[in-house]
């Protein structure tokens, strides 16, 4: 049994315990604060990336009478003492560097005292996670070089000073420092506007704002000087005020409201509920508190988790367990059927109309003495449709080589051109006609979608290929290609998995491979048994879909029926199961 607790099991267990708790009578809304929730516990979430913490608490005794929900708070992240100390040391050193007439011995002593610290921090996990390890290393190296040069090199001094100030900026602020800084900036802004407006208004009247924002160069020099003086004072004043405000806010823990949650029926019955906070910082310890909110929005007193908790990162991401199982199921069935096919068992697959036409199309091009055009979409090799298109190309070019028809492959990407050349060359080799391969028939045109189509359109009208294949990712150009191909009387076979473009291909081409059929095409065309096996594997995937959908739909229907039949408890259980399927299995 794994350590993973599924919410479902928990819910069922909790509910089973409390099944006999009777429904309390509804109470009157009131303005008095409700009774607070109790026994808040906070625990690191198991098997995650180090960003989640699980909270659990006992519901307020007033629940469900007068409670609307619960409000969760967490502490702001604060730096621990060691970090603060390090930050201070760097800051001091920067200040010393900017001091113009400091005796060199003093600077030397300061550098030597702080260098080991900087080195040590460069190797810390904190520095690596917040990406200031490099800056710390650079700063240490620059300081060492400066010391080694005997401290009378001006350039070295500048370089060391710069490296230090870069490091200072790179050390991240804690949320609390951020809040203080924002406070300062806000105070400064208010102070500045208070200085600016009366002077400019006196000068320009109602147009002051426009001139202030857009035509500042029209402000006369003497007013600029005056404003400068006044705003300098305002800035100092603002800083003082902001510091005072920050100090006034500075109780031991500063709280941040995270979210409001409502307990469900099962949770009310169990008398306790839980919530998982996400996206926390794994280098900070947190404190949590939860309050109950009354009907009228009045908040109760808090319950505070007794210890500080830090989220821990684990190797395996448990949230993706279901994804892994489903991936293994699908891939496993594909592999299984490929093995079955290799063992020589005959596999039946149905026919796809478009594919039997490939032979005919290439044959016709040969008879008419015209070329075969193959377009592998307009995306690069990092699109799986392009790769599927290239595999189809290998079959088509093999046919062309056998029939001795000219095959032309313009591409919209350089890498696709490279891959297509390899592919076609291999096909010619397989067909035993390597000498007939002409690399110049596979060429790059332009990356631009409509530049590529402009070229293709002109080329098709001039060269009149007898067969056109469009196999890959297509966008708006699908219809331009298909209509032009139609106007020159070519046989057109298209295959794409772009739902928005399928209608145009379906309407204007002779045959279209729709979505999944397109991916199956290379398996069909190759005729190799192990390739056909993979199609069987895909069918297993569809069976899985069918089973999950049918079970899910039945459960959802049962839930609706339970609601209609006024069975809240059954409905709550069913809802929990469906939530489990939706949120855990299918994510």
């Amino acid at each position: 049994m794994s350590r993973r607790r599924t919410p479902l099991l928990l819910l069922l267990g909790a509910a089973a315990l409390s099944i006999c708790v009777s429904q309390p009578a509804a109470g009157q809304p009131s303005d008095a604060p409700p009774a607070p929730p109790t026994d808040l516990t906070a625990q690191d979430h198991p098997w995650d990336k180090g960003e989640k913490i699980d909270l659990r608490w006992q519901l307020s005794p007033d629940d469900p009478d007068t409670i609307a929900g619960y409000r969760i708070y967490r502490s702001l992240t604060v730096k621990d003492a060691a970090q603060l100390d390090f930050e201070d040391r760097v800051e001091d050193l920067v200040d010393l560097f900017e001091e113009p007439d400091l005796p060199p011995e003093q600077l030397k002593a300061a550098i030597e005292a702080r260098l080991p610290d900087i080195r040590a921090w460069a190797d810390s996990a904190h520095a690596k996670h917040y990406e200031y390890d490099y800056q710390a290393e650079e700063a240490a190296a620059a300081l060492e070089a400066y010391l080694a040069a005997g401290m009378d090199d001006r350039t070295m001094n500048r370089r060391a000073g710069k490296a230090l100030s870069v490091l200072e900026e790179a050390i991240p602020l804690s949320e609390r420092q951020q809040q203080d800084e924002e406070l300062e900036a806000a105070a400064e802004r208010v102070a500045k506007t208070a200085v600016t407006e009366p002077i400019l208004r006196g000068l320009f009247g109602e147009r002051w704002k426009e001139i202030w924002e857009e035509r500042a160069d029209e402000i006369p020099t003497d007013i600029r000087a005056q404003l400068y003086e006044l705003r300098y004072d305002a800035e100092l004043e603002a800083e003082r005020r902001a510091q005072a405000a920050a100090a006034a806010k500075g109780d031991d823990v500063r709280w941040k409201h995270v979210v409001d949650v409502e307990p469900g029926l099962l949770e009310i019955r169990a008398g306790e509920m839980g919530y998982t906070l996400e996206r926390l910082d794994r280098f900070s310890k947190y404190v949590f508190k939860v309050t109950a909110i009354g009907d009228r929005g009045v908040e109760s007193g808090p319950t505070v988790a007794s210890s500080r908790v830090r989220p821990v990162r684990q190797v395996y991401d448990g949230a993706r367990f279901a994804l892994m199982v489903i991936t293994l199921l699908i891939c496993g069935s594909v592999v299984f059927f490929i093995r079955v096919a290799r063992s020589g068992k005959p596999l039946n697959v149905r026919k796809i109309a478009g594919l039997s036409a490939v032979d005919e199309a290439v044959g016709r091009a040969t008879e008419m003495g015209r070329s075969v055009l193959f377009v592998a979409g307009i995306q690069d090799m990092n699109d799986i449709q392009t790769i599927a298109g290239i595999t189809v190309l290998s079959r088509v070019s093999r046919l062309a080589a056998e029939y001795d028809a000219k095959i032309e492959v313009p591409t919209a990407r350089s890498l696709v051109m490279t891959a297509a050349r390899e592919t076609v060359q291999a096909s010619y080799l397989e067909a035993g006609r390597p000498d007939a391969f002409n690399a110049d028939n596979i060429y790059y045109v332009t990356d631009e979608q409509f530049g590529f189509v402009a070229y293709l359109q002109g080329m098709m009208v001039r060269e009149k290929p007898a067969a056109c294949f469009y196999m890959g990712t297509f966008f708006a150009e699908s219809l331009i290609l298909a209509e032009t191909g139609n106007s020159i009387g070519a046989i057109q076979i298209a295959g794409t998995a772009m739902p928005a473009q399928l209608p145009f291909f379906v309407a204007a081409c002779d045959y279209t491979l729709i979505g999944e059929e397109f991916f199956a095409a290379s398996a069909y065309l190759s005729g190799e048994p192990d390739q056909l096996g993979s199609l069987k594997g895909q069918d297993v995937g569809k069976l899985i879909v069918g089973i999950i959908v049918v079970i899910g739909v039945l459960l959802a229907t049962a839930l609706s029926v339970a609601i209609l039949a006024n069975e809240p408890v059954t409905a709550a259980y069913l809802e929990a199961i469906i939530e489990f399927i939706r949120k855990v299995v299918l994510t």
Binding site: D317, N382, T391, R413, L415, P434, Y444, E483, P499, Q538
Partner: protein, 234 residues
């Protein structure tokens, strides 16, 4: 050798990235691989661009049919390339006025921007606009009620086209908006088609595509399908 090593690279690259998804430490590897791909694709421009120049230069030297147009292509290509790569006529960026090359290569008002605004954009936008004509001719030629399937496609398109103009609203305006038959008003029929049939159809297609992609990827990784690797000895 020549084919085994590439097959090995393919399999390792793919399976490592699949496994990476399941650990918090490695979930960003996929993004790094995507950036690497972009870099590789950009380097590949040398191949594509070189091929483009080669083809057109040969056409010019052979005096092949339409060689004059190859001259136009080459001039347009080289001019854009030189102006863009050299950031010709571009001012420095506002943050770093002392660095001459710090400006954006597509600064508004610069020569590269001019090429974009007055050559690239009108040419490509006009190509895009030609679709209006092709849509019309396709409607005339291809939308024929040959069988039930075609009739469904055609009928739906017809209803949507009508329902999205004033004409459609007017045609069924005799049905009371809140009466029992209001669901048959053309604008409501449009909504029902979109919400029910269109949703179901799209879902089936998307699920199928996802399966197709999974199986194609797997075949590539297992080396079942290796046509892209070219020929030569094993």
């Amino acid at each position: 050798m020549k084919r085994t090593i590439p097959l090995f690279i393919t399999a390792i690259g793919g399976f490592v990235l699949i496994a990476a998804v399941f650990s918090g430490y490695t979930q960003s590897w996929g993004e790094v691989a995507a950036i690497w791909f972009d870099v590789l694709a950009a380097i590949a421009f040398i191949l594509g661009g070189g091929n483009l120049m080669k083809i057109h230069l040969r056409k010019i030297s052979d005096r092949g049919a339409g060689w004059a147009y190859s001259v136009v292509t080459l001039i347009a290509f080289l001019a854009t390339l030189i102006i863009g790569l050299g950031k010709i006529g571009v001012n420095p960026s506002e943050q770093f006025p002392e660095y001459g090359m710090s400006g954006s290569y597509r600064e508004v008002g610069g020569p590269f921007w001019w090429l974009y605004e007055y050559a690239f954009k009108p040419l490509t936008a006009t190509m895009f606009a030609m679709l209006a004509f092709y849509v019309a001719s396709a409607a005339f030629r291809a939308f024929r009620a040959k069988n039930l399937e075609a009739m469904l496609l055609l009928g739906t398109a017809f209803i949507i086209l009508l329902g999205r103009t004033y004409a459609g609203v007017w045609l069924t305006s005799f049905l009371a908006p809140d009466g029992p038959l209001s669901g048959l008003r053309l604008e409501n029929v449009t909504v029902t088609i979109m919400k029910v049939f269109n949703t179901a159809g799209n879902r089936a297609i998307m699920i199928g595509i996802a399966l197709g992609i999974a199986s194609t990827s797997l075949k590539v990784l297992l080396g079942v399908d290796r046509s892209y690797l070219g020929g030569g000895e094993e």
